[in-house]
């Protein structure tokens, strides 16, 4: 069974385009709206000709659709209607009660069904968005003509050998820390600051991104109130966490993918990335798949080199509207 209800659509303009920090090539989306995803309002952002064939861009964890403000217009200029959405709790989407991988996946299906009902389309995912879409491409291949995964291939990082009792202590502290955080989530707020302060905080996790780009991120992914700017992301969310899932389980889905697959990996490791050594991924390529490894580029391949990466993607997905092999 797939989702059978028609999602309701509400036209919106998120934020105030006039307060957005200017950055070369960055564009506010041409169209914005909310989709009702099983009772939760999901914010959708579109660039390009509304009559052009659609493609989907999927952002990573702790990011939001507007991180595509430069990349999306470049793809739109190639003749595509570029659609992205803010995952639950991120960007301009509602903050739900619960978060999980499966819930993100179902929210994604609402967008797929709205944008391209019954027809496959090209999908480009970054980081966690790439990992989510890799699993969805395995579970529901009929939705994809092409899959591009930008630095979103999870890999089992080798953990240095530590004594068993030390490992137990580390796990114990991690879980207790997470539970202590959960006890604060009903009242938690993000810390306010100036645009520059929020940009500097984010810059500590993304040292390769330009200060002006980070300032634009603050003014598209944040909101201003009397005491300063705050990120819009749900303050109950926390980096890290624990659970039974293992990164190599997503990797195992790669070799069997039936649609054309392009991996774009940055050589430089960053805190927000998976720490995946590019060469380790090559043995997992599907039959119709290949990997581009970009030297001297970090986790945000599409932000650091938007021209080059959009060129790779446009070449790969080829002429809009041309039929590509969905299933083998």
């Amino acid at each position: 069974m797939t989702s059978t209800t028609t999602p309701s659509v509400t036209e919106r303009v998120f934020g105030d385009p006039s307060t957005e920090f200017e950055y070369p090539g960055a564009e506010h989306p041409a169209r914005e709206y909310q989709l009702n995803a099983n009772g939760l309002q999901i914010a959708v952002h579109e660039w390009g000709d509304p009559e052009a064939p659609p493609l989907l861009l999927v952002h990573g964890g702790f990011d939001f659709a507007r991180t595509f403000d430069v990349f999306a217009p470049l793809l739109a200029a190639g003749g595509w209607r570029v659609v992205s959405w803010d995952q639950r709790g991120h960007g301009d989407s509602e903050h739900p009660e619960l978060y999980s991988w499966d819930a993100d996946m179902r929210d994604a299906l609402t967008v797929f069904d709205h944008v391209s009902p019954g027809r496959p389309l090209p999908v480009i995912g970054h980081s966690k968005g790439g990992a989510l879409m890799t699993q969805l491409a395995d579970a529901q291949p009929f939705r994809f003509t092409h899959l591009v995964n930008m630095d979103g291939i999870p890999f089992n990082r080798r953990i240095p050998d530590v004594a068993e009792h030390e490992r137990t202590k580390m796990v114990s502290a991690e879980i207790a820390g997470w539970l202590d955080h959960r006890r604060t989530t009903s009242t938690a707020q993000r810390k306010p600051g100036t645009v520059e302060e929020l940009a500097a905080r984010r810059g500590r996790m993304n040292p390769r991104l330009e200060p002006d780009w980070l300032k634009r991120l603050v003014t598209t992914g944040g909101y201003e109130s009397a005491d300063g700017w705050r990120w819009k992301i749900d303050p109950s969310m926390r980096f890290g966490g624990f659970g039974p899932w293992r990164p190599e389980w997503t990797l195992m889905r790669l070799p069997g993918l039936p649609m054309p697959f392009l991996g774009i990996l940055g050589r430089e490791m960053e805190e927000m990335g998976w720490g995946t050594p590019p060469e380790k991924v090559l043995p997992f390529m599907p039959l119709d798949g290949r990997c581009e490894i970009l030297e001297d580029v970090g986790h945000f391949v599409h932000v650091e080199q938007p021209d080059r990466v959009s060129g790779l993607v446009l070449d790969f997905i080829a002429t809009p509207g041309a039929t590509a092999g969905g299933a083998a």
Binding site: T5, S186, R253
Partner: protein
């Protein structure tokens, strides 16, 4: 018999119903017993016969999406979220005092959560007893070909998303046994976990074979942890 007192605990954006089935005696004393229900169940409204001999207060928690607790929008359940639900009950029953402890009995899915809270809050859980009940098996132990779909929304508990998502959550045995080791490392007890279930799915079979886990009936385990 008067209706039981219910307190609502705020966990994130969810209100959890904690049913106080037996209040603390005026003299105080006796460790609180927390009862965690199975998948799709609701908390008992009175002290179950098997718990009559317990000398301390007795409370039962409705997990998120169950009983009188909040139904979230669009699902997103994980066992770890329910662990944090149980932690909210632990905090309430110990008045936020980290030196106080409780004993936990979990049925089915609640047994899996009882194991997790025994590991995660080892110093504050004086014994966790795992018994049969709905949702004991859980989902697979590794990657699956399961697909994704939406469900009709429901205004009544149990939330269909809870039934589906918590009925297929991943339960690798070595993930479950990690909580036994945490419990053993942080507890004063030599055997902080008791397996009283007849059914032993893979995760629970692995748990039962760990050092620090006793095999006992529910009555035996309750008597052991009462002291």
């Amino acid at each position: 018999m008067t209706a039981e007192r219910v307190t609502m605990l705020r966990h994130g954006k969810v209100d959890l119903a904690l049913h106080h089935l037996r209040e603390a005696s005026p003299a105080g004393g006796g460790r609180p017993l927390l009862i965690l229900h199975g998948l799709g169940e609701v908390s008992a409204k009175r002290v179950p016969a098997w718990a009559e001999a317990w000398t301390g207060p007795i409370a039962a928690l409705d997990f998120t999406g169950h009983g009188s607790s909040t139904i979230p929008r669009g699902g997103g359940y994980t066992a770890e979220l329910l662990l944090a639900d149980a932690d909210a009950a632990l905090e309430a029953l110990t008045n936020g005092d980290a030196t106080q402890s409780i004993t936990v009995v979990g049925r089915g899915l609640g047994a899996y959560i009882a194991l997790q809270i025994a590991g995660a809050r080892a110093a504050q859980v004086h014994g966790a007893i795992l018994v049969d009940g709905p949702g004991l098996a859980g989902g697979p132990t590794g990657p699956t070909s399961q697909s994704f779909f939406s469900l009709p929304t429901s205004a009544a508990t149990p939330d269909p998303y809870a039934l589906v998502e918590l009925g297929r959550d991943l339960r690798p045995p070595d993930y479950a046994t990690q909580f036994v080791r945490l419990a053993l490392a942080g507890s004063d007890l030599d055997e902080p976990i008791a397996v009283a279930s007849v059914f032993r799915p893979e995760w629970l079979d692995a748990v039962a074979r760990e050092h620090g886990v006793m095999q006992a009936t529910l009555a035996e385990a309750l008597a052991t942890f009462a002291n």
